[in-house]
Structure formats: structure tokens, C-alpha cells
């Protein structure tokens, strides 16, 4: 069983996964510091919006893109944002802005709908988060993940590197603008080649701030395609197979007999990585 077929339906569903988010302003940050304008604004703001913004974010997208939208709204509302070092947190835990939002939601283990997170403009936690969460930085991180995935998959980054600048930007832009067809126009060159597959681009996240596991996993096991269960067994033999843990991605539990190459093709995030979260199983 080898040839992984591009499953259009699955892929579309994965892409279109959206999360409702409720972003609240940090109330502590709206103290009137020095300027009276700020006071007026805060009053004004509190009057109009009650410091809440509801939006829908794509699971495959990134937080800095959300920040962009937020800024737009806040500027329109005449709310001055002095510090553009925006960061988010969920229940006190700063959210890593270079992870996809879907991954963050699943990692947080929250079942809220909408996902209630707070936006901060000051006191950027430099110890916990990477600095300067701008859209350009997110783009750079995204592209580096793509190259990693390409390298792991084929053993060279030539496919990514050979993309024209326009194609590279198109990857990111189509992601930020939610254009499935445009994205897959480019991305198909990167993952559709079934020859020379080497290792699976895979990242495994464990709860409680465990370090991320990124191990070398080959696609085939003595000629036949590996299954997810095999892979997990290789990596976490204590946990798999057993009833203790389940692999989750994109908010769904994956069956262990999923072929890994099919999963890599269809269940990857926008950066062509499979991000698996290991959760305690709920029996």
C-alpha cells in the first residue's frame, strides 16, 4: 500500500477549519497613564465595544494575522495602541505566535466555544515568547517550516528553493487571505512527488510543557507504508499502543491505522508538517 492519493475532500475540510475566538482587551492595560486622550478613548472604547471582539480565525492561520485585523478595527475605533508588541494569552499562559492557531487551541485543551483569549499590548513576556511578532516574522517562520518539511520529506530543500519568489509569497498570501486553490497551486509541487520520500515531517506535542518531539521517521517500513500506530509506537513505545493516550490533530482524534504518507499529504498544516498532540484519553 503505498501511493498516497491526494484526498481533495479531506484536504478542503482541513483547510476550512475555523475557530471562533473572543478577544478581550486586557483591562489592566487601559489605565489612563499620562494622556487624557487615552482616558477619553478608553471611555469611548468601553462604551462602544465593551472591550470584546469576536472573530473567526482559520485553524491553519497564525496569530500575527489576527493581530493585523485587530489593529485595523482598533484604529478605526480611535483606540491608540502605543505598543505594537501584541501578545495573547489563554488563562494566563502566553500563546506562541509562531504556532498555527488550531494547534494552539488543541494544545490549550480548551473546550470553550468561542475560545476566549486576551490581547495585551504591554509587558511582552520576553522569556516565554519569541520577540517581535510581526506578520513578516510569522511569514519567515512559516517559510522555514516549509523548508524543514521539504528537507525531511525528500532529503533536499530544492523543491522549496526552486520556487519563484512569487510562488513563495503566494503560499503565505493565500494562507493569510484564505485562498485554498491558490495555495494548493503552489503546494502541490512540494508534496505531490512520491519518489524519493525519505522521512515524515512530523512534530509531536506532549502536555504539560513537554519539549516537542521531532524524530526521524521513515515513510515506509520494509517496503510497505507505515501506519500512524507504528510511528507512534516507534517514538513513544510506552504510550502506544495503549489506552493511555490518543493522537489529536486539527481537533480530531486520528485512528491509529491511518497510513502515515496519506496523513502527511492530507492532514498536514499549511506548513506541510503533521502536528500531533498527545492527550490523555478520556475513557
Amino acid at each position: 500500500m503505498s501511493v498516497a492519493v491526494f484526498d481533495d475532500i479531506i484536504s478542503k475540510k482541513i483547510w476550512n477549519g475555523k475557530l471562533p475566538i473572543q478577544i478581550s482587551l486586557d483591562p489592566t492595560e487601559n489605565h489612563a497613564f499620562t494622556e487624557p486622550i487615552f482616558v477619553i478613548l478608553t471611555l469611548f472604547f468601553s462604551y462602544s465595544c465593551n472591550s470584546i471582539d469576536n472573530m473567526e480565525a482559520s485553524r491553519c492561520s497564525y496569530l500575527p494575522l489576527v493581530s493585523e485585523q485587530l489593529l485595523h478595527i482598533y484604529n478605526g475605533l480611535d483606540i491608540e495602541i502605543i505598543n505594537t508588541e501584541i501578545w495573547y494569552d489563554y488563562e494566563g499562559e502566553p500563546l506562541k505566535w509562531h504556532y498555527p492557531i488550531g494547534l494552539l487551541y488543541d494544545m490549550s485543551g480548551s473546550k470553550d466555544r468561542p475560545w476566549q483569549i486576551t490581547v495585551h499590548f504591554r509587558n511582552f513576556p520576553n522569556e516565554k515568547l519569541l520577540k517581535s511578532p510581526s506578520v513578516e516574522a510569522a511569514q519567515d517562520m512559516f517559510m522555514s517550516m516549509m523548508k524543514q518539511a521539504d528537507f525531511l520529506r525528500y532529503g533536499t530543500t530544492k523543491r522549496v528553493m526552486n520556487l519563484s519568489k512569487k510562488d513563495q509569497s503566494q503560499l503565505w498570501e493565500s494562507l493569510s487571505l484564505d485562498r485554498y486553490d491558490e495555495y494548493w497551486n503552489v503546494n502541490q509541487y512540494l508534496i505531490s512527488d512520491t519518489d524519493g520520500l525519505r522521512y515524515v515531517p512530523l512534530r509531536i506535542y506532549l502536555p504539560d510543557q513537554c519539549p516537542v518531539i521531532q524524530e526521524v521517521v521513515s515513510f515506509t517500513n520494509k517496503g510497505s507504508s507505515k501506519l500512524l500506530g507504528d510511528v507512534l509506537n516507534d517514538i513513544l513505545p510506552d504510550l502506544f499502543p495503549s489506552n493511555l493516550a490518543i493522537p489529536i490533530t486539527h481537533g480530531i482524534q486520528l485512528p491509529l491505522d491511518t497510513p502515515i504518507d496519506w496523513a502527511s499529504q492530507n492532514l498536514s498544516f499549511a506548513d506541510n508538517f503533521l502536528h500531533l498532540i498527545i492527550c490523555k484519553s478520556v475513557s
Partner: protein, 555 residues
């Protein structure tokens, strides 16, 4: 179910849950957008309101202002008009100013114009004058040119004449030369003839003398009126007759003077018999050259003109001229016929002690204490040759009658012979004497020289061999003066010299013996001179006395 279906089912369930809020969120977003737009609009309206308010205010202000001031248009017009009035006033003022300036300038210009016209009149008058003068000058100039032209032609003519005359002169000169040559030739022939006649006469006289001898023995007295040999010049040396030692003397030794004279006025320096024997002359410190009659001894002339002492005297060959050399560095020549001074030969820078005529009387040689001998040309009147003689010359004599060779005796005891043509020395005779030479005299034959010196000797020197033929001395003979002159007798038989004590000494030239001494003078004897015809011997002493002795053959 296979994995795929499981996954699909799970995804669908997820989506149901998570997309529940989709509609609400969308609505929310829309509301937010609307709020934003409304807010921006509100802001814009506020801005507009503010600007309109301000505008309103300004307009009301302007309206009020306009009401107060009348319409702004009026304002403008009034202001403009005011300005224009002001400008026009200024312009007018300026115009007045310029007008006054111009008036002034006009006046000034008028003045200048007047002045200019005056000067112009003045100038034109001057110009007229100048043109007139130019015309005059032009005509004068033309005249001058004409005159010049005439002069040029005259010059041309004169030059042509000169050329013609010069040609004539040259032809005449040539003719003259030819004539001279002919003359010379004729003279020569005549002389030859005369010589022949003389010879014949000599032979006749010889014969006559022989006859006389015989007659003497018989006891007759025949007085010779003229005797001696006649040697006339210019004659070639081949005709010169040499002395014959064996001749019998034709002079006789004097016994006593026939006359004694005292010449007053100064010391006597020299005495000389004339060439013809008709007179003799003395010269001395009285600056006068006195000429006396040969026989009587009466003074015939006293020739003046010399500025100082006359040191030597010479008569020319025809006794027309006499010269006297003087210590005033000059030699003077007088013409005996007119008794007038003919020439003064100046040029020596020392005392002239001796001078002689050449036989043709055209030249004079003089010797001086400035160590030179000078040859003078009497026709031209100036010195034609100066011979430097190294030593002051005391006496000189010409060897030959043409005046080619000259002998001089010097202060340095030497005797020198010179060629007068070239001025070169021919011979220097040293060691002849031990004292300065005081006299040189040539024998009548011209080949023997008699020298007298302060070493108290007289020597006869043969001029061909330059050897001393004879020495004459005597214990009583002492040369008393630096210019003491001695001489031969005309027949070469005797030599006479005066001594310092006044004794006249006569030696025989053949025997070299002292033959006679005659003491008729008291003082130093300065000179003796034998008349060329042999009849008289004249002696002089410095103390003004002169004695005349008769030396003619007589019984």
C-alpha cells in the same frame, strides 16, 4: 470503517460544533465595520463643521469690515487713486528739476559754442598766415635747389679742371724729371770736362812748380794766387784722388802770426776758415757768428739770431751759406750775401756741438749732446733722419762729399761711422782714445781721419782698414777743452792742434814728429782751422784772441 471515513466523520462533527458561531460572528463583524465607518464619518463632519464655523466667522468679519470701510472695491479704487496722485506729483517735481537742469546746460552750451567759434576764427586766421609762409618757404626752397644745382655743375667743372691740371702736372713732372736727368747728365759731362781741365791745369801747375823750383833756385818769387787741388763734387768716388804720401808740402810752417786780434764780448768757442778761403768766422758765447776777411782779418759781418753760444761753424761749399750750431739746441744758417738768417733747424733736445753742410748744400748734419745725429733737408726745412748714437756727440764730419758716410766723435771715447741714408751704424771704433773725443776731421783726400781727444793725443786713422796710422803727442801738448778742434793742413803734410796752455803744436804727418810749437796764445786754445787753399792758419783761444798765420809758400 477505515481510517479515512473515521477522520471524515470526526471532522464533520468538529465543524458542526465549531462553526455554530459562524453566523453570529459574521453579524458581529459587520456591525463593527459599520460602527467604524460611522465613526469616521462623524469625525469628518466635525472637521467640516469646524472649518465652516471659521469661514463663517471670517466672512462675518469681512462683511463688517466692508460695511465700515465701504465696499472693498471702492477702497481699492480710492487707494489706487491716492497712489496715482502721489506718483504723478512726484513725476511733476522731477520734471521741473530736469527742466531747470536742461536750461542750465543750454546756457552753458551757448557759452561754449561762442568760445569755440572764436577760437575757430582765430585758427583760420593762423592757418591763412601759415599757408602764406609755407608758400614763401616753398619758393625759397626751390631757389636753393636751383642754386645747389648750379653749384654742383660748377663743382663738376672744377673737378674736371683739376683732373686736367693734375694730368698736366704729372706730365710736367715727368718732363721735369727728364730735364733734371738731362741736367745731371750735362752737369756730369761738364764736371768731367772741368776735371779734365783741372787735371790739365794740375799738370800745368806741376810743370810750373817744377819750373818755379828751378826758378827759386834762381831766386824768383812767384806768388801763388790759387793753388791746391780742386776737388769738386758731386763726383763719383772713382774720381777721388788719393793722398800721395810722397808729395812735397805746399804749405810752409809759420813762424809768427801776421795778425793777432782780440774778439771782445764773450769767450770764443770755435773758428773756421771758409771753403773758398776768402774769409773765416768765429763763434762764441756772445751769440754772434762773426765773419772776417781772410787776409786782413777785418770783421765783415756779425750774424746774430742765435740764442746761446755758437759751438761750431761751417761754411757751405760755395760760401753762400754759413751755419752755426748752438747750445740752444738749434743750428742756424745764414745767407752771407744778405746776412740774413735763412734757416733755424730745431729738433735737438740737447746742445748741438757740431754741424756740417753736405757738399751740395742741400742737407746739414748735426750732432748733439742729446745722443743723436740729425740729418736736415734744407729745402724742406726739417729733419729727415735722426740717428741715435748712444753717446753725446762732440764733433762730426762727413767722410764723403755726397754726405753718405758720417763720422762722429763721442763723449764715451768712441768714434762711430754712420750711413746717413739708412741711419745705420757702419763702424764703431773703440779703444782708439782714452778720453772723450773732442774733434774729428777728415783729410782732404777723404780716407784718413784725424781725431783729437782729451787724453792729449791725436790719432790718424785709416778709414778703409780702420787702423791707427799715426799717433801725435807731445809732453807739452794737453787738450784743454772738450770742443778743442784740430785739423789737417790742406796738403796733408801737417797736423795742427792747440794746447791748453796756448801753444800751437804742429806735427809732420809723415814723420809723426812734432815740428813746430808757437806760443802766441795765453789761454786754452779752442780751435785751429787751416784755410783750404793753404795760405792761412787761424787759431783761436777761449780768451777771445785769434791769430792768423801765413802758411803760404813764400820766400
Amino acid at each position: 470503517m477505515n481510517y479515512r471515513d473515521l477522520i471524515l466523520e470526526r471532522l464533520t462533527i468538529r465543524n458542526e460544533k465549531e462553526h455554530a458561531f459562524h453566523g453570529m460572528i459574521v453579524a458581529n463583524q459587520k456591525l463593527v465595520q459599520k460602527v467604524l465607518t460611522l465613526q469616521t464619518k462623524e469625525k469628518q463632519l466635525e472637521v467640516v463643521m469646524k472649518t465652516t464655523k471659521i469661514q463663517n466667522e471670517t466672512l462675518t468679519q469681512a462683511a463688517e469690515y466692508a460695511k465700515a470701510q465701504g465696499s472693498p472695491e471702492h477702497q481699492h479704487r480710492v487707494a489706487e487713486l491716492d497712489r496715482r496722485i502721489h506718483d504723478l506729483n512726484e513725476e511733476r517735481a522731477e520734471m521741473y528739476k530736469t527742466q531747470s537742469e536742461n536750461a542750465q546746460r543750454l546756457v552753458h552750451m551757448n557759452e561754449q559754442l561762442q568760445k569755440a567759434s572764436e577760437t575757430e576764427k582765430h585758427n583760420s586766421a593762423e592757418i591763412k598766415k601759415l599757408t602764406a609762409s609755407i608758400k614763401q618757404l616753398g619758393t625759397k626752397c626751390d631757389l636753393q635747389i636751383e642754386q645747389l644745382r648750379e653749384k654742383d655743375t660748377a663743382i663738376q667743372i672744377l673737378q674736371d679742371e683739376i683732373a686736367a691740371i693734375q694730368l698736366e702736372i704729372t706730365t710736367i713732372e715727368e718732363r721735369n724729371k727728364k730735364l733734371e736727368k738731362e741736367n745731371a747728365q750735362l752737369l756730369q759731362r761738364w764736371l768731367d770736362k772741368m776735371n779734365q781741365e783741372a787735371e790739365k791745369m794740375n799738370e800745368a801747375t806741376e810743370f810750373y812748380e817744377n819750373f818755379l823750383e828751378q826758378a827759386r833756385n834762381v831766386g824768383k818769387t812767384i806768388r801763388k794766387t790759387s793753388g791746391g787741388k780742386w776737388i769738386m763734387g758731386p763726383s763719383s768716388s772713382s774720381e777721388k784722388k788719393s793722398d800721395q804720401r810722397s808729395r812735397t808740402p805746399t804749405v810752409v810752417l809759420p813762424v809768427s802770426p801776421i795778425k793777432k786780434m782780440a774778439i771782445s764780448d764773450g769767450e770764443l768757442f770755435c773758428i773756421k776758415a771758409s771753403t773758398t778761403g776768402s774769409m773765416f768766422a768765429t763763434g762764441g758765447s756772445d751769440k754772434k757768428l762773426r765773419v772776417y776777411d781772410a787776409k786782413t782779418g777785418n770783421a765783415t759781418m756779425a750774424l746774430g739770431g742765435s740764442l746761446q753760444t755758437i759751438t761750431s761753424i761751417c761754411f757751405d761749399s760755395t760760401d753762400e751759406l754759413v751755419l752755426g750750431s748752438s747750445t740752444d739746441n738749434s743750428t742756424r744758417i745764414w745767407h752771407l750775401g744778405t746776412q740774413r738768417l735763412r734757416h733755424t733747424l730745431t729738433g735737438h733736445i740737447g746742445k748741438v756741438f757740431a754741424a756740417q753742410f753736405t757738399a751740395d748744400s742741400k742737407r746739414v748734419v748735426s750732432g748733439s749732446h742729446d745722443r743723436t745725429l740729425k740729418v736736415w733737408d734744407l729745402q724742406r726745412g726739417y729733419c729727415i733722419r735722426t740717428i741715435f748714437t748712444f753717446s753725446s756727440c762732440n764733433d762730426l764730419t762727413l767722410v764723403d762729399v755726397e754726405g753718405q758716410t758720417l763720422v762722429s766723435g763721442h763723449l764715451d771715447n768712441n768714434i762711430r761711422l754712420w750711413d746717413t741714408r739708412t741711419g745705420n751704424g757702419i763702424k764703431e771704433l773703440t779703444g782708439v782714445h782714452n778720453g772723450q773725443i773732442t774733434s774729428v776731421s777728415i783729410s782732404p783726400g777723404g780716407d784718413t781721419l784725424l781725431t783729437n781727444s782729451r787724453d792729449n793725443t791725436l790719432k790718424m786713422i785709416d778709414l778703409r782698414m780702420y787702423n791707427i796710422v799715426a799717433t801725435f803727442q807731445a809732453p807739452s801738448y794737453r787738450n784743454g777743452a772738450n770742443w778743442s778742434r784740430s785739423c789737417f793742413s790742406p796738403d796733408m803734410s801737417y797736423v795742427a792742434a792747440g794746447s791748453a796752455d796756448g801753444t800751437l803744436h804742429i806735427w809732420n804727418t809723415l814723420t809723426h814728429n812734432l815740428e813746430k810749437t808757437l806760443k802766441d796764445h795765453k789761454g786754452v786754445m779752442c780751435g785751429v782751422s787751416w784755410s783750404p787753399i793753404g795760405d792761412y792758419l787761424y787759431t783761436a783761444e777761449t780768451n777771445k784772441n785769434v791769430c792768423i798765420y801765413n802758411t803760404a809758400f813764400q820766400i
